[in-house]
């Protein structure tokens, strides 16, 4: 209860056998990724992602976070190893996973409504139904009233909300988010983080969040996977136990929150120096 918020903390990545007993929605086994025959981006990644949890991938720039997330999404093929979602090996993108892009990846020629409904459009959902569902999620991410605007008429934070609504609208089990808040300013970012916590309570989905902000990882995650610099390996897994029900600003001042940030920073520091 007191200062012990590091409930699991391992120097190496070998997963304990007990882990598999927990409900893992995504299992990563022995993933290697080598780019162009020479650049080893990921080395022997073994991980489980628990259903309903928010897991952050945290690590220095270039350590392979995006690479790992894209492999999980089925957008990239690993050089070796296997990813299983709900027990089925991943060979490409699937309906149970949705991606939120760092640069938003919105179609500039389409309105907010059409962008948010795009995933459904590709699946052949009728216009009426997909617009209805898109409207629901646009409202849920706090963008109602902007349905007919084009992306260039929105701020960066609002654009990312569209990206989030699009991912939510296809009703995937897992949301893969690649630094979703990195292109927005600090105030927007905090607001966004608070909204994400609220959204998790409504949506009951599994979230995978890539970030290189320690504060963000600690504030949001049930579990933080720390990756080492290239070649990316799992350096440590940290499980923050922070009560997020209270006032957001108060959370950011609790000793648990601040201590954990210091601890992770101390761990990462060895790579930077």
């Amino acid at each position: 209860m007191n200062v012990t918020h590091l409930s699991e903390s391992r120097a190496h990545s070998a997963p304990a056998a007990g882990d598999a007993a927990r409900d893992a929605i995504i299992e990563v086994e022995g993933i290697h990724k080598i780019y162009g025959g020479s650049v080893t981006a990921l080395e022997n990644i073994n991980l489980d992602f628990h259903r309903g949890a928010l897991t952050s991938l945290l690590g220095p720039s270039g350590c392979g976070k995006t690479t790992l997330l894209k492999i999980l999404a089925g957008l990239l093929q690993p050089t070796s190893g296997e990813v299983r979602v709900n027990g089925t090996p991943v060979t490409g993108p699937g309906p149970e996973r949705a991606f939120v892009f760092q640069d938003f990846a919105l179609m500039p020629w389409a309105t907010v409504l059409r962008n948010a409904a795009y995933g459904l459009e590709l699946r052949g959902v009728s216009l009426r139904e997909r617009e209805e569902r898109a409207r629901h999620y646009i409202d849920e991410v706090g963008l109602s009233g902007f349905e007919d605007k084009y992306p260039h008429e929105l701020s960066g934070g609002m654009r990312q909300r569209v990206g989030l609504a699009r991912a939510l609208a296809v009703d995937a089990d897992v949301l893969l988010m690649d630094e979703p808040f990195s292109a927005v300013d600090e105030q927007t970012r905090r607001k966004f983080q608070e909204d994400l916590i609220r959204l998790r309570e409504i949506e009951k989905k599994t979230f995978l969040l890539v970030t290189h902000s320690i504060e963000e990882a600690v504030y949001l995650s049930d579990r933080i996977v720390l990756l080492s610099p290239r070649p990316g390996r799992v350096a440590q897994i940290v499980t923050p136990e922070i009560d997020r029900s209270g006032d957001p600003d108060a959370i950011r001042r609790t000793p648990e929150y601040l201590d954990l940030i210091d601890e992770i920073w101390a761990g990462l520091r060895t790579y930077v120096e």
Binding site: K70, F99, A105, M107, P108, W109, Y118, L122, V170
Partner: protein
């Protein structure tokens, strides 16, 4: 604003004067366009009146000649002749240029096979090849069509290719991550995303096609508008000669501006009314 910079960047070093002028013209408010035209025509009129060259008529004199040729039907008849190789050539260039450009952008093997041809075509001084074309295809319509194609095709193909290559990869990844088929990726994402740069190339290509048509009429056999220019020069009716030149420049600018409108209405709803 963003559209202006993007268009100019896309045109790059191959930018033709008419097209650049036209795309700039399409983006500026009407009052500026009128003001800029007034300035140019005013300067022209003054230059004409200084009599620095006996063969250089003023703006008003040229307009009078233009009106005369329109009224007596000679202008209309000339354009009917010129339109034939121009339209045929442009249709061929558009069809081949856009489709091969897109194919090169989408597929490495097509790129390897085809791109060098277009790069060579673009680098070669096409005007110098027109006599050769005449030698092979004679002085008929085929040669003139070919002249238009030779000038407009490479620009259209290369810009379409670059446009497809420059589509942000995250947009394609996005479509893929939501399980878009290849067809949905190409028609739903790649082509709309490539359309601004592709249309910049098309506008350049059309402007080049106008050059090709006139060059062919000046170098192969004088017909249509080329004939109006050469004939009036030979009988020293310089105002008429300039009127013919003016008319083709104006037509090229108008065509290119209309293309810009077409692009915005067809592909870029977000730029409507901006």
């Amino acid at each position: 604003m963003a559209s202006t910079t993007q268009t100019n960047a896309a045109e790059g070093p191959v930018a033709g004067l008419t097209s650049r002028w036209a795309s700039a013209a399409a983006d500026t408010p009407a009052i500026w366009k009128i003001l800029s035209l007034a300035l140019i025509f005013g300067a022209w009129e003054i230059a004409g009146r200084t009599n620095f060259n006996y063969a250089f008529p003023g703006f008003l004199e040229t307009m009078a000649a233009l009106w005369e040729m329109i009224a007596d039907g000679s202008m209309g008849a000339a354009y009917l002749r010129t339109a034939e190789p121009l339209v045929l050539g442009l249709v061929i260039s558009l069809a081949i240029g856009v489709s091969s450009g897109v194919a090169m952008g989408l597929r490495r093997d097509v790129e390897w096979l085809t791109l060098p041809i277009f790069i060579t075509m673009q680098a070669a001084p096409m005007a110098a090849l027109i006599p050769l074309v005449t030698f092979v295809y004679g002085i008929g319509l085929a040669s003139k069509v070919l002249a238009v194609v030779m000038l407009s095709l490479p620009v259209i193909a290369i810009n379409s290719y670059k446009a497809v290559r420059n589509v942000p990869s995250s947009l394609v990844d996005m479509s893929r991550s939501f399980m878009g088929s290849r067809r949905q990726q190409v028609f739903g994402i790649i082509l709309p995303a490539a359309s601004p740069m592709m249309f910049a190339g098309i506008r350049l290509g059309v402007a080049e096609g106008f050059s090709g048509a006139v060059l062919a009429e000046l170098l192969i056999t004088p017909t249509g508008i080329g004939d109006l220019i050469t004939y009036n020069r030979s009988i020293a009716k310089f105002a008429h000669m300039y009127a013919a030149i003016f008319s083709i420049v104006a037509l090229a600018v108008i065509t290119v501006s209309l293309l810009h409108r077409l692009e915005v209405t067809l592909f870029r709803p977000e730029k409507r009314g901006v």
